[in-house]
């Protein structure tokens, strides 16, 4: 059971990151803490940084550094046009997928 859930979580996590950026930029620490505070989403905050780096390499997000009022400069993440497309496509698929799974779990038949 547990490995399935953690695989599912790992697969979905990057889209949750993209979703958090839909309404505007966020800096890394803010992103990480927001996701980490969602129930059952992240087991170790540190593993989000490699994920963010990958999204950047894949061109789904882009970053700019800006001074912070307190502490070190912050790296702000924004969604690229490509990131928006990917997020949109996933949202549609997820909607359909989760509805099907919910239906099956609830009734044991295909609605």
């Amino acid at each position: 059971m547990a490995p399935v859930i953690s695989q599912l979580r790992r697969g979905v996590l990057e889209f949750c990151v993209l979703a958090l950026l839909r309404d505007g930029e966020r800096y890394a620490f803010e992103l990480v803490r927001t996701l980490s505070d969602v129930e059952g989403m992240v087991t170790s905050e540190g593993t989000l940084y490699p994920l963010l780096a990958r999204l950047r390499r894949e061109g789904l997000v882009e970053t700019t550094w800006r001074e912070s009022p307190s502490g070190p400069p912050r790296r702000y993440y924004t969604l690229t046009a490509r990131g928006e497309d990917v997020l949109g496509a996933f949202s549609v698929e997820w909607e359909r997928f989760s509805r099907s799974v919910d239906g099956l779990l609830a009734t044991g038949t295909t609605a």
Binding site: A28, F29, V32, S36, T43, S44, E45, G46, T47, Y49, P50, L51, L52, A53, G71, P72, P73, R74, R75
Partner: protein, 191 residues
């Protein structure tokens, strides 16, 4: 880059991360460590207590896990038997038939592999060099010379029993070596 110093525990954590990520390309390792360092500077106020530092580090998770999330380390657990081992064992066993080159290739693969220990490799190389091909050369020359010595009716039952020993050994030793290497490979990949 840092304008203030981190708690020694946090510094030690960054060192561990740096080591855990030593399989990553340099640029990616530096970036990962810098990202985590920035995180620590955000999460920890100056003069944070040890308990606060430990909490932040716990939330970050194990440095190994973070580095593996970036890119799995190509472990010597690619000791996982992947077919190369079988090719190696087969070449050592019967590769000698291909003008001897096959056996030499087998030896090359054997010594390059991370699956076997040096002791295994020495056994695989030296116990019966050439594999079954050498057994055949050995046996045919033995049988020919045996036929010359053994005139009609001269070969008694006793003589035959004695003659059987090197024949059996010539077949058992290379096959036994192959079985031994196969078992060691299996043992190594499951541990």
């Amino acid at each position: 880059m840092t304008t203030r110093t981190l708690h020694p525990l946090a510094e030690a954590y960054l060192d561990r991360l740096e080591r855990a990520a030593d399989h990553l390309p340099r640029g990616r390792r530096k970036e990962l460590v810098a990202d985590i360092e920035t995180h620590l500077l955000e999460a920890l106020r100056p003069n944070a207590s040890e308990a606060e530092v430990r909490n932040v580090l716990d939330r970050l998770g194990d440095p190994d896990e973070i580095a593996q999330a970036d890119q799995p380390r190509p472990t010597p657990a690619s000791t996982a038997t992947d077919g190369t081992e079988w090719a190696t064992i087969t070449l050592l066993l019967i590769g000698g038939f291909f003008a001897g080159i096959g056996w030499l290739l087998g030896v090359f693969l054997l010594w390059r592999s991370r699956v076997w220990t040096v002791r295994d490799k020495l056994i695989g190389t030296l116990l019966w060099p050439g594999g079954v091909a050498v057994s055949f050369v050995f046996l045919s020359s033995y049988l020919i010379s045996g036929a010359e010595v053994c005139g009609p009716g001269e070969c008694t039952d006793d003589g035959f029993d004695l003659a059987a020993i090197p024949i059996i050994a010539a077949l058992l030793v290379p096959v036994g070596t192959a079985v031994y290497l196969a078992r060691r490979a299996k043992h190594s990949s499951s541990s």
